[in-house]
């Protein structure tokens, strides 16, 4: 096997790990398990970024990998765990759709993104195309998780998983300037902080983080 093929296979493997973690997020029923799975996904993402840095000869991607590892792999899960403990919220995840049907829809979304991306990127290299298909799948799975979860914390984890998919797409694109990736990471961090603030406010006002209670107002029902 030439290095080219080996590089491609490894990138493919790491990307598939990120996707598997995305499915793992849909599968879990316990809050701490969800947060840990998200942490693994972020670490797989860091590995993907580091590998792309090596293959593309782009040292600035090492910085992206480091940011993904430190912020998303360690800080954010730590913060989420702390929030969960502080809020004392119930540890099980309420789902709007059963876990089985959710996973089936997830596989459908993966097939959809593969069908969408592959014909469109005929001229790009195989590694880029696959990376894009995998990234889009992760984004869609994150979106699915946000839709099918009723607890605010797991909705946020779904959103962070969506961002993971976006970063995966960004590192796959050859030569994306670092300023963009740094800014993305920074905005994710700020978003995370705001989410944390929000949890406390929601809990303060509604005494629960179950978002079904948040929908009673629904833009005036007079």
């Amino acid at each position: 096997m030439s290095l080219g093929h080996f590089a491609y296979s490894t990138a493919h493997l790491i990307g598939a790990t990120v996707l598997m973690m995305g499915f793992g997020l849909l599968y879990q029923r316990r809050m701490t398990a969800v947060i840990n799975t998200y942490s693994f996904q972020a670490m797989a993402l860091a590995a993907a970024a580091a590998w792309q840095a090596y293959v593309q000869n782009a040292p600035h991607l090492y910085a992206t990998a480091a940011i993904a590892l430190v912020f998303k792999g360690m800080l954010v899960p730590f913060a989420l765990n702390w929030l969960v403990k502080q809020l004392g919220i119930h540890r099980t995840v309420e789902t709007a759709l059963g876990i089985g049907p959710t996973m089936i829809v997830g596989v459908g979304l993966v097939a959809l993104s593969i069908v969408l991306v592959l014909p469109v990127t005929e001229s790009a290299t195989a590694m880029t195309r696959e990376n894009l298909a995998l990234a889009m799948s992760v984004v869609l799975l994150g979106l699915l998780m946000m839709i099918t979860r009723r607890n605010a914390v797991t909705q946020v984890v779904g959103f962070m998983a969506l961002e993971n998919g976006l970063i995966l797409a960004a590192v796959g694109a050859k030569g994306m300037p670092l300023v963009v990736e740094i800014s993305i990471a920074f905005s994710v961090l700020v978003a995370m902080t705001l989410f944390g603030i929000f949890f406390f406010r929601i809990r303060e006002r509604f005494d629960t983080l179950d978002l079904a209670y948040l929908e009673t107002f629904r833009g005036e029902r007079q």
Binding site: A124, A135, G165, L214, E220, Q222
Partner: protein, 495 residues
């Protein structure tokens, strides 16, 4: 980009540096009265710097640039930012008297206001599409906490919805941006130049069409969420209604414009590439559905701010429809509408803010007879609603007329739903307005002895509204020549 003396004369640097440093400064000013006036002063500085753009247009750089499209938007944003800062000073004065906002909140509020203006101006002047994305995301983040400033159940729900929906939308827009970069990269090489809009527009015809189409789909959905296009508008009425009124004014008047501007920048890239998906039909569809949904929702509203938030949805729908139609006349109409809507909608929200403070309620049913109890405010409100409903000789009539006539010209069948939507909206707004402005006046607890504002505060509150309405009137009668030239050149670029 950060060299010395030559850039000190670059108005772009001042336009961006002033709000940013203002935000940092206002975060530490302890007394809110000083902070409010500092806010006004900084906004005035930004506005004057933007006026300097007319005489001294800087060269496009890799990160920032000014062209015919964003020059007047920058000036407009700075102007509305300035007038809203004035209104905010008066409004906050009354709010703090009624003890709804603590000094700590107010410090945060002022700092975030300037930060918000910075992010909007950055989004408007960004050349790098990645920086534009970051700026729009930052604009969302700065306003989220402000929407929930009052900490009521409704406010928190509104802010959460706003946060989640817009963040998802922005995420999808980022995906679209990455796809655009992927399309540009084989043609333009790696790195930052491949993300610079001024360089991309020259070679966009060589980009791969299918990839651009996929990218535009994501961008339309992503940024379209922030514009408030149906069916992605669910966050808009709540978010615009629950925050403090100055924030509603800038959200409705300015942020929606910035999001639409982002979509249009990408539409220009698509226009140069003939084989790519034609964005027209998509935008027409979304615009039409926005107009309709908003028009019918207007009838059932009981809250005054929510009423005008839906009106924003409708107007953004008209603009999207116009840009979707394409062609010089419709594009011109859309651009004119963007400008007029900013001015009139913010004027309306100023009026609404003063009304709610005077009557102490936001419910339409409880507000009556404003022209009798508060003549100046009442009649300004009437004029504003007539303007937003599209009556001549105000500016919005001109743009709506141009949209409808160009639709009749190109595709008569499409004009029917648009006319229907406009008429329904007109009816709803006039109905509500007559209820509020005429008839037996309702009691005004906000103006009881001891709570009445000083004449100075009162005039500072009324002045921005009057200025906006006068400008809209003037633009409806006579449009200055340079503005027409810019509109026409941009209309050509939009295809």
């Amino acid at each position: 980009m950060v060299q010395l003396p030559p850039d000190l004369l670059n108005p772009l640097m001042w336009i961006l540096a002033l709000p940013l440093s203002g935000a940092a400064f206002l975060a530490v000013v302890p007394r809110w009265r000083q902070a409010a006036w500092l806010n006004v002063l900084i906004s005035l500085g930004t506005f004057l710097a933007s006026l300097a753009l007319f005489s001294h247009r800087p060269e496009p750089g890799n990160l920032l640039f000014i062209d015919d499209f964003n020059i007047y938007l920058v000036v407009l944003t700075a102007f509305v930012g300035f007038t809203t800062a004035m209104f905010s000073a008066a409004y906050i004065n009354r709010e703090s008297k009624s003890k709804r906002l603590s000094p700590k909140h107010l410090r945060f509020y002022h700092a975030m206001y300037q930060a918000f203006l910075f992010t909007m101006l950055l989004a408007l002047t960004a050349n790098n599409i990645g920086v534009m994305w970051v700026a729009v995301e930052a604009a969302t983040l700065t306003t989220v906490l402000m929407v929930s400033l009052y900490r009521t159940r409704e406010a928190i729900e509104a802010a959460w919805k706003y946060f989640i929906l817009c963040s998802v939308g922005i995420g999808l827009a980022l995906f679209g941006t990455i796809l655009v970069y992927l399309a540009a990269q084989p043609v333009m090489g790696d790195g930052a130049p491949a993300m610079a809009w001024t360089l991309m527009i020259k070679r966009a015809s060589l980009f791969q069409p299918e990839l651009m189409s996929l990218a535009f789909a994501f961008l339309l959905v992503g940024y379209g969420t922030k514009v408030g296009l149906a069916p992605l508008h669910a966050w808009l009425p709540d978010a615009h209604a629950e925050g403090p009124t100055p924030i509603s004014a800038v959200l409705s008047g300015l942020l929606l414009n910035v999001a639409l501007y982002a979509i249009l920048r990408f539409k220009m890239l698509m226009a140069v590439n003939p084989q790519a998906l034609q964005p027209g039909p998509l935008m027409i569809g979304m615009g039409c559905s926005s107009i309709f949904i908003a028009a019918f929702m207007l009838y059932r509203r009981g809250d005054i701010k929510r009423l005008f938030a839906y009106s924003s949805v409708e107007h953004m729908g008209i603009m999207t429809f116009a840009f979707g139609m394409g062609g010089p006349l419709a594009n011109f109409a859309g651009l004119l509408h963007m400008t007029m809507h900013s001015l009139v909608k913010s004027a309306i929200f100023f009026a609404v803010g003063l009304i709610t403070q005077a009557t102490g309620t936001k419910r339409i049913a409880d507000i009556r007879g404003l022209t009798a109890s508060q003549p100046l405010l009442g009649w300004c409100f009437v004029v504003g609603v007539l303007a937003i409903a599209g009556l001549p000789p105000m500016g919005i009539f001109m743009s709506e007329f141009l949209v409808v006539s160009s639709t009749f010209e190109r595709n008569p069948l499409l004009a029917v739903p648009v006319m229907l939507g406009l008429l329904v909206t007109f009816g709803a707004l006039i109905l509500r307005m007559t209820g509020m402005a005429f008839g037996e006046p309702s009691p005004l607890p906000g103006l009881d002895i001891g709570k009445r504002p000083s004449a100075f505060t009162y005039s500072v509150g009324m002045l921005p509204m009057g200025a906006h309405l006068l400008l809209a009137l003037a633009a409806g009668i006579y449009l200055p020549e340079p503005l027409v030239v810019w509109f026409q050149s941009v209309a050509k670029m939009l295809g």
